[in-house]
């Protein structure tokens, strides 16, 4: 407290305590509404003093103080700072806000910077209190209580007490600090006066275990003392039971790391051979036997490890065709998408749902058709947390024809339906204009009839509802035609 300042100021405000925000708020409101400049006010804390509160002018009738809504929140946080000039500083800010309502949005203003820095310091101190309070247990059974000693930099006990209530509801606990204490008896929270370190218990049996953990979770080959100290400054160490181990761990780290490295690989542990024999019996080396598949399920098995093009690298799994092995028709899509890649089944994503619904409308039983893709691994570009589908290129389509051709050989369908350009390219070996050829049947050299239409995902991409409906209707007509061709 600086008496000289008191003498000069026209108004002296006495706050009940260091954390008497409502007292400050009331006084600041009265002062500001009476146009009293920051320089004319002095602030001080006089808890329990007999002095009457400073004589402050009343709020003029009908006067209203308008400040940005978030100012109170900011001020309440900064108020917990230990800087004794904070009361005057916050009043100055309030004074400026009357004529500069956007002040807090101007990050480069020195007062705004200072407010931010104060809040940051308080929040950091609170965070460290959440982290570094160490309870010690006293008593057992009904007498069980947990008591901690903590030395905050700022006035944050009141602010943090609720956090500990939420976290340790089922415990009886007390946190002692030099300026205040918080006590929870399982039902009620009480804020009391400060105390001395000696009032807290000085040990706890579990600390030996905690120190054991701290010692062993540390990896001496990764010593980074500065990083540790930045987050856990030395001022906290004296109240942390594990901190006394730190100097020894640092001093021994190099030696320990060197020892780790120097310790040459030894012969395998005695039980190793037994474990290997029991759990990992040597299996005959399997050579890929793609060509030998004589059923669709054998072919599907063989395709699981397909490495014919590099697409397997980023995909989850091979998505093989699905359906009865004597199907009369095979639908060929482009490639699996995000959902298909996860599920390992073709046509289960959004486009697959559209496809299913239209097949149903056309009266084609999906259980009786075989559905597959021209390319069997999902090709995509990762973008943030999404995968953007990217079109397979001619090389990838060509590589995958190996599988498609075998699917056709084994199933021997009457008809193939190419859904979209990629499928058409795969089935016909040349690029065709799908929109132009749509609804036509092309006969391959080997006699297979290939019906050309769009891929159902095309319908999904149309935004205009009327156009979307029209396109869906066209696709339904295509499917009706497919049904007729199946019968023929």
């Amino acid at each position: 407290m600086q008496p000289a300042e008191l003498d000069l100021a026209r108004y002296s405000v006495r706050l009940e305590s260091e954390t008497d925000f409502s007292g400050w708020r009331d006084a600041a409101r009265r002062l500001a509404l009476n146009e009293i400049k920051p320089g004319d006010v002095s602030w001080h804390v006089a808890a329990g003093s007999d002095q009457p509160p400073g004589d402050l002018p009343a709020v003029p009738v009908g006067a209203q103080l308008v400040v940005p809504r978030d100012f109170i929140e900011h001020a309440e946080t900064a108020f917990c700072h230990s800087d004794p000039s904070r009361f005057a500083f916050l009043y100055r800010l309030l004074w400026r806000l009357r004529t500069e309502p956007k002040l807090l949005a101007i990050a480069s203003d020195p007062d705004t910077r200072r407010l931010e820095a104060m809040e940051k310091a308080v929040r950091r101190d609170s965070h460290k209190m959440h982290a570094f309070v160490r309870f010690r247990k006293i008593g057992d059974g009904d007498e069980e209580r947990y008591v901690a000693w903590f030395e905050p930099d700022h006035f944050i006990v009141e602010r943090n007490a609720d956090f500990f209530v939420r976290r340790f509801t089922g415990m009886r606990w007390t946190i002692l600090t030099p300026y205040a204490s918080a006590d929870w008896d399982g039902e009620r929270l009480a804020i009391g006066p400060g105390s001395a370190k000696g009032d807290a218990p000085d040990q706890d049996d579990t600390e030996a275990l905690w120190r054991t953990y701290f010692e062993n979770i540390f990896n001496p080959a990764r010593l980074k003392v500065k990083v540790m100290q930045k987050e856990m400054p030395k001022k906290y160490w004296r109240n942390l039971p594990e901190a006394s181990l730190i100097p020894g761990l640092i001093a021994g780290a190099d030696k320990a790391a060197v020892a780790m490295i120097a310790k040459m690989p030894t012969t395998p542990a005695p039980h190793h051979a037994k474990v290997q024999a029991r759990h990992w019996p040597k299996q005959p080396v399997e050579t890929p036997q793609d060509g030998d598949a004589s059923t669709i399920s054998e072919l599907r098995e063989a395709a699981k490890g397909c490495r014919r093009c590099p697409l397997w690298r980023d995909a989850t799994q091979t998505v093989f065709g699905e359906g009865p092995d004597n199907a009369k028709v095979i639908f060929v899509g482009e490639q699996p998408g995000d959902q298909e890649d996860l599920a390992g089944k073709p046509f289960v994503g959004p486009a697959g749902k559209v496809f299913d619904a239209i097949l149903d409308d056309a009266g084609v039983d999906r259980q009786k058709v075989y559905v597959t893709n021209a390319v069997k691994h999902f090709k995509f570009e990762p973008r943030g947390k999404r995968r953007i589908h990217s079109k397979p290129n001619a090389g990838e389509i060509q590589a995958c024809r190996w599988w498609i051709d075998r699917e056709f050989e084994l199933i021997k369908p009457d008809l193939a339906v190419a859904l979209g350009a990629t499928a058409a390219l795969s089935l016909l070996g040349k690029a065709i204009a799908v929109t132009k050829m749509r609804g036509q049947v092309i006969e391959r050299k080997d006699g297979l009839r290939v019906f050309i239409t769009i891929h159902p995902s095309f319908i999904l991409r149309i935004h205009e509802p009327a156009d979307k409906e029209a396109e869906r209707e066209r696709f339904l007509q295509d499917m009706n035609q497919v049904k007729r061709l199946m019968v023929a």
């Binding site: 480069s108 247990k137 939420r166 987050e231 542990a269 599920a343 943030g384 947390k385």
Partner: protein, 411 residues
Amino acid sequence: MSVLTVREKLAILSDAAKYDASCASSGSAKKDSLKSGGIGSTEGMGICHSYAPDGRCISLLKILLTNFCIYDCSYCINRSSSNVKRARFSVDEVVKLTMDFYRRNYIEGLFLSSGVIRSPDETMGEMVEVARRLRLEEKFSGYIHLKTIPESSAELVEKAGLYADRLSINVELPTDEGVKKLAPEKKPETIRLSMARLRQTMEEKAEPTLRTKKRERFAPGGQSTQMIVGADKTSDDGILHTSARLYGSYHLRRVYYSAFSPIPDSSSSLPLQKPPLMREHRLYQADWLMRFYGFSQPEILAGSSDGMLDLAIDPKLAWALRNRGQFPVDINRADRESLLRVPGLGTKVVAKILETRRHRRMRLEDVGRICQSIAKLRPFIIAEGWSPGALTDKQGLRDKIVRSCEQLSLF
């Protein structure tokens, strides 16, 4: 063999867990004990309760249920051929340790991993039992992270998600070839499928059920993974490619990079040297560029000669130096995306610039007041009264910035 005390087991089983980098206890759903009258809370942001001299935060009781293991992964201290001392916790012991530590505010919760003994299901079953006991019998609302064993059954994983905040499955190494070589019994295919199944289950459970309109609780903290860096020859570009694939494919919350650490009694197939910590740090920085700064994976290292991140400067600065044509950026006019690409401007500072410039034009000093250091920034921005002129394209710019930033560096 003599019976080990809990303290001896703790020493062995925390030592065995220290090579796993995953530690975060953030990002889960908020919960506290007010209603249950139990113990524990998670409030979105995790809390680091201590720091080890290796600079790593201690937020969770990170232990193995057992370090007996039938696998023989050469980078792992717990592999079956290792001569390390073995121990095994009982479910009771882990539950009690967690509660005792939590009540004293040492930790945010439990991170439980395990060597695989007998069968994956048996091991996973015991881990799930620990989590179940904590939640239901101890009324524990703190954080629980379970390391899922890829080969375990879908039912067990579903149960795990019921009790855990986060589930993770390690991809182990950046490439399938690496896994095949160093972890011959592990199957990259199974690891992918497990991650895919986890994502599917998480999305399924996030849908409100028709009958109750309530969402089922299932691993609200999402899934994460870890890969070991420096045990095989994969380049940083290759590692980031794998990360981008993992984030995109399985919606992971985090990919942890763990610089390969020499382990006692290590296998002869591995490098015997200190872990490349700076490389690990740069990878995390590059990871942030992908997740928070709008960089796509291929552009981070595009134009670099060897596909490796520059160890002397951060990846954003390195990118800016390779792409000087995109600078200088006008602080008073550029959009958010361009500002985020300026070296030295973080997401918070960019938000402040956008807000401040609505009210006044910003000078170089104004920018200087809200960010840590202007040295990195100056050549890349235009501000009121400031233009870098030829500085942006100057030869030797990199060295100049490196010198002026050296004092600020943490390492």
